[in-house]
Amino acid sequence: MNRSSIDLWVGVFVVAGIAGLLFLALKVGNLATFSNSQVYQVQAKFANIGGLKARAPVKSAGVVVGRVADIRFDNESYEAIVSINIDYNYQFPRDTTAKILTSGILGEQYLGLEAGGDGVMLKNGDRLRLTQSAVVLENLISQFLFSKAAEGKPEAKESGK
């Protein structure tokens, strides 16, 4: 086999390999989503973030509008500070509520935004005032048990009479 046809085949091989890498990066990975669009960052304080992770989706009405950029612990208020990157195409009022929700029963946790009624829109660096923490299963169970116990008391007295 002569040299130019070897070069040709090596060229085809390198192009195919790079095409494979690009396919992996763009079609399989999520490089294309939100990487070329402008974002603005807002922060929210939560008493408990549950299992929320960095890069978790931020959804409003079920549509992904951004991603969680960073999660830190505030040493003064002992709360979690979550930084959120929101796509510039989606503008939210200043009194938007942020909730930590779970997709399905066993699904991963995401951040849900519920728009308020304020006329002023959120800007880069703003802080969301209204937040709702993740539901902790242990707290839920203990609440349920306490309320059951409170319900049970009068009945127990009645039956004791």
């Binding site: 070897i6 091989f13 195919a16 390999g17 494979g20 992996l24 990066a25 399989v28 999520n30």
Partner: protein, 268 residues
């Protein structure tokens, strides 16, 4: 058991250990010499191109076909398990993550070791047995720079590309079986995959893995060829050793790299 018998065994054990440590030292010195003298291989890039042709282009068919079938089998098996939990939409995630993180680099590396590594060892070993390497030295041509280095760099450059093609083909195979044959929703297949696969954590780490495997396999292949006893039996043993050693090296390195890359750190 007599004392002399025990002593003979201990001596054999000691010789064996010393021999292997010595060989490892020689192999490391060989790699250093190879990297330092690879100027010729990079300046006269035609030499390296020809080796990329032999190591990479000629391995394409086995890599592409194996990738396709591995992806198809993953989709079949994965669907069977996932649908028991009602999570058959996650098939894309399962296929993509297992290929990009593990199967792509590892299986492509094993195939590369047996397809290209053995050929490199046999070629260099035969060159040594027929005294072509000595003839080069007589002509003041460094055989490491002229023969070994182009083969080394050809293999090192081919391996990541082959692994990427293996993963891409496997995901395509998974798509064929999962979406076209079984009927998983195409939108869920791709979108869940895109949400779960991270470019830096998964794809870049897979590429790094395959590059490390490429260095390990080609290093072992060129060293075994260069170090082979110049007889027919010696070359055949060296070829076998290349496949066995590089397969074990790939699996051991894979464990270490996985432990470094995918545990801790990535999960906050």
């Amino acid at each position: 058991m007599r004392v002399a018998d025990v002593r003979a065994r201990l001596e054999r054990l000691g010789t064996g250990v010393t021999f292997h440590v010595l060989r490892l030292g020689f192999a490391s010195r060989f790699l250093g010499h190879l990297v330092l003298h690879s100027g010729t291989a990079l300046r006269r890039f035609r030499l390296t191109t020809a080796e990329i042709y032999f190591a990479g282009v000629l391995s394409l068919i086995i890599i592409l076909v194996s990738g396709l079938f591995v992806g198809m089998v993953l989709a079949l098996q994965g669907y069977d398990t996932l649908q028991r939990f009602g999570a058959s939409e996650s098939l894309g995630v399962l296929v993509a993550l297992s290929l990009v993180r593990e199967l792509g680099p590892v299986v492509a590396g094993l195939l590369f070791a047996s397809r290209a590594g053995s050929a490199i060892t046999a070629e260099i070993g035969l060159m040594k047995a027929t005294e072509q390497l000595s003839a080069m030295e007589m002509m003041a041509v460094d055989p490491i720079a002229r023969v070994v280095a182009p083969r080394f760099w050809g293999g090192v450059l081919s391996m990541p590309l082959l692994a990427a093609l293996f993963s891409a083909m496997g995901i395509f195979g998974g798509y064929l079986v999962g979406v076209q044959l079984i009927g998983v929703d195409a939108g869920a297949f791709w979108s869940q995959m895109q949400a779960a696969v991270d470019v830096r954590n998964d794809i870049l780490n897979g590429v790094i893995k395959s590059a490390v495997f490429g260095v390990a396999v080609t290093w072992i292949a060129v060293f075994e060829g260069y170090d082979a006893p110049p007889t027919a039996e010696g070359v055949s043993r060296a070829t076998t050793r290349t496949v066995v050693t590089s397969s074990l090296a790939i699996l051991a390195l894979d464990f270490v790299l996985t432990a470094l890359m995918f545990t801790g750190g990535t999960h906050q």
